[in-house]
Amino acid sequence: MNTLIYTAGLGMVCLAMEILDLRKLLVPVILLGLAVIFGVNLMSWADSGPVIFAGLDMSSMLLVDHFSVAFNGVLIVAAAFLFAMSHDFYKDEQHHLSDYLTIIVFILCGAMVLTSYSNLVMMFLGIEIVSISLYILAGSRRHDLRSNEAGMKYFLMGSFASAVLLFGITLLYGASGSFKLTEIASYAATYGMDSPMFLVGSLLVVCAFLFKVAAVPFHFWSPDVYEGSPSLVTTLMATLVKVSFFAAFYRLMSSGFAGIDPHTSTILVIVAAATMIVGNLVALKQINFKRLLAYSGIAHAGYMLLAILSLKTNSASALLFYGATYILATIGAFAVALPVFSSTGKETIDAFDGLGRKKPFIAGMLTLSMLSLAGIPPLAGFLGKYYIFSEAIHNGYVAITLLAVITSIIGVYYYFKVILAMYTKAGEDTEIQFPMLYSIVGIICVALSILLGLWPGGLMGLL
């Protein structure tokens, strides 16, 4: 709870700094703030009593447990990377800097609500905080046609999904008479299967979540929005936001619906299979790097759906580990991609041509990130995949796991397209400007990917 309050406070501070004309200090202050918030978050690990705020018990709204603290920790780290990169990314847009950064801070707030809600109203609020902020950010390049398109598309589709979600919540309320997860869970346990209203409601909520995490067949917005949005926003959507939606999805299924009923299970198996197949196959044909990562993100959503399916054995820590490795690898990749895009003016894979010769160290970082995304040991992405597959098999989802294994072989092909571009193509002689903060973010991400691959102990089995 404190974590959330401090983060919201940080957002206020950002706005105040705009008024006081302290834009130059914005990024350092935010990073410092996030470090403090991380510490606050760490302290709430041990203390998991009811949430008391201003003398009122808020436990029926927000519930701070190990699940939310762990995911918040990962999200805070991801946000810190994004802010570090924003310093150079928004260099030419200083007059909007505080707007953008404040919005990202509030997205972090929304994401924290999503990891710790215990009430469907809070869940809806969390989703809307994140989504509405993202609509703005996606369209934030006002003079860029594609950015406008991305913002508009995301807004239209996203608000439709929100309406579906709201409708689902209403039906759940109608059936169970409460917004509280605990009461919904006890209703689901006693009458769930017999109440059509409850089943339809839960189906609608699940569909809305599938839209938000870009699972097939609700994925069509994602490549266009990823491609059109400013690259840093794409990174944000692909990492922090995606993982927070998955955390919320998991929380809903585990504490709201008290496990997965057979209907939802069948639907999720089909959706996960389709997501893995479509995501990986369509990614093969992409030439735009951001679209490639959009489809790879869709494929990874398919794998993360396996963790949601494996609720029975408390697969939360598998989801956490996978989410963390996915965030590290994706941010590591974008930390290389963003400066390359701005130097070459291209966002296609051939922007990386010859990078292995021009900047061997940078190319090495991108290579390792790609290998981690592809799930090659000893990088953390491998253990993430292994962990999720293992949980899924333990829960009896053998066939779908075999499918996941096969599709992840396909995945290797398109991740290697990027590596091949760097090492085997000549490329133009454009000088690649590589600001220091990008390299620092990249190095930390890659180093963490390697470390987590070798010593997963800290994060694995945490929950």
Binding site: F389, V412, Y423, G457
Partner: protein, 481 residues
């Protein structure tokens, strides 16, 4: 402690070479690889006095799901580690006197590869083993990609995805084993003793067999191999053919037979037939090859086919033969590819029809090449003979007719090797070989060592038998129910 040193010295060496700069990269790499060889020699000494217990390393690595950092060095592992650590310095030495761009990266990757290979041979925990197995793929991919021939991009990608596909199926198999195991761990001792139903074993067999069959390669999973051997730089080809494919054979013995005995009982015969088909098929294809490296690649398929057949014979002769032949084949095939490289280095061609008459120009090279060829076609008193004899004997015990077909490998092998030798070395010098300087100093050392091993092992192979006999008996006792 020594196990750790044995494992991590190559990794350390790879880092040192990478940081050391390109100018002295090859010398530093050689020095460190020789140091690793010296550690291996000391390890053999310790092994003789204290036995395998001296090398036992066990640490918990991941609590949940339970994975341990469990290393061990029994006779079988020791033979493989000796092979690796003996070949790697020679492979590095073979790169002297050649211009290699960005040498530090090249030699660093070779040493990284050595690290992963030693890890594969010493890992006694399923997931740890799997990780080393995968890690071995990355350096060789980049070696072939950065320093390979013209068509390298498509061919190496095919190689990578093909072998990774097999590996991922194996990972799936390992996860299944983990959950079948009542203790829920990957530890090899538990995997050896756990009970799995026949039904489950029979499909798990394919998860593992495919991974190994692709790596070895057993026909029909061999299509990546000849192209990759041809397009890789020489040292890459040597690593691939000399050591990396032995990973697959070693894994058949170590992980497939004892862990899934019922699966082997059910499908072993089919696997055996595939191996024998592969022997004949690859030998016939080798007869028709026009490129020296391609010919050697297909001859390698035939030889390893026989080794794998000996394993599926499920008797002690076959297993002993396979280990001895693994060692012998590792030495011979690396020697042969080195000879091909020496020829290419001086003539810029590996097309057999364009070569000829080298013997008159380079008598020393010719003599050594002859000896390696004779070892490869299993002449008595060379290292190839002992292994092939035992393998054929093992297959004979299993089924007479299969051994007849498998025996064709010796006849056909002699046919294509000697025919190749005649065309390449004898006769009048062709226009492509106007001059052919005889061996340089490094080439003399490398080939000299190979010749010593070929005769040494051919005359007195007993030490290897002594090392592997108890391990193989133990594995056999788990494999036959």
């Amino acid at each position: 402690m020594m196990t750790i040193l044995l494992l991590f010295l190559p990794l350390l060496a790879a880092l040192v070479v990478l940081l050391g700069g390109s100018k002295h990269a090859s010398s530093i790499a050689l020095g460190l690889a020789v140091a690793e060889l010296a550690v291996t020699a000391y390890a053999i000494n310790v092994f003789q006095t204290e036995g395998p217990e001296a090398f036992y390393v066990f640490h918990t690595w991941i609590d949940s799901p339970k994975v341990s950092f469990h290393l061990g060095l029994d006779g079988l592992s020791l033979v493989m580690v000796i092979l690796t650590n003996l070949l790697v310095p020679l492979i590095i030495l073979s790169g002297f006197n050649r211009t290699i761009p960005n040498a530090k990266g090249y030699f660093s990757l070779i040493l990284l590869m050595q690290f992963a290979l030693v890890g594969v041979f010493m890992a006694m925990d399923g997931l740890l083993y799997y990780i080393f197995w995968e890690v071995a793929l990355i350096p060789i991919y980049f070696i072939a990609l950065r320093w390979g021939g013209h068509n390298r991009v498509a061919i190496t990608l095919k190689f990578f995805i093909y072998t990774l596909a097999g590996s991922l199926l194996m990972l799936f198999g390992f996860i299944m084993l983990y959950w079948y195991n009542p203790e829920q761990s990957f530890d090899i001792r538990e995997l050896y003793t756990m009970v799995i139903s026949q039904e489950n074993q029979s499909w798990l067999f394919w998860m593992f067999f495919l991974a190994f069959a692709i790596k070895i390669p057993i026909v029909p999973f061999h299509t990546w191999q000849a192209d990759t051997y041809r397009e890789s730089p020489t040292q890459g080809t040597m690593l691939l053919s000399g050591i990396m494919l032995k990973m697959g054979i070693y894994s058949l013995i170590r992980w497939l037979l004892p862990v899934l005995p019922l699966g082997v009982a059910k499908w072993g015969q089919l696997a055996m037939i595939l191996c024998v088909i592969g022997i004949v098929y690859a030998s016939i294809i080798a007869l028709k090859q026009k490129n020296l490296k391609n010919l050697l690649a297909y001859s390698s398929v035939a030889h390893v086919g026989l080794i794998a057949a000996g394993i599926f014979a499920l008797n002690i002769q076959g297993l002993q033969g396979s280990v001895v032949q693994m060692f012998a084949h590792g030495v011979n095939v690396v020697g042969l590819f080195f000879c091909a490289d020496i020829i290419f280095n001086r003539t810029n061609t590996n097309e057999i029809s364009e070569l000829g008459g080298i013997r008159n120009l380079a008598p020393l090279f010719s003599t050594m090449f002859t000896i390696v060829v004779l070892g490869s076609i299993a002449l008595p008193l060379t290292n190839g003979f002992i292994g092939e004899f035992l393998l054929l004997y093992g297959v004979y015990e299993y089924n007479v007719w299969l051994s007849v077909f498998a025996g064709l490998t010796i006849i056909l092998g002699a046919a294509y090797m000697l025919r190749m030798f005649k065309k390449v070395m004898l006769g009048q010098p062709s226009s492509y070989v106007p001059e052919f300087p005889d061996l340089y100093w490094n080439e003399k050392i490398v080939l000299g060592v190979f010749v010593l091993i070929i005769f040494g092992m051919g005359i007195y192979p007993q030490p290897i038998f002594n090392l592997v006999e108890p391990v193989l008996q133990d594995i056999l006792s788990h494999s036959i129910l």
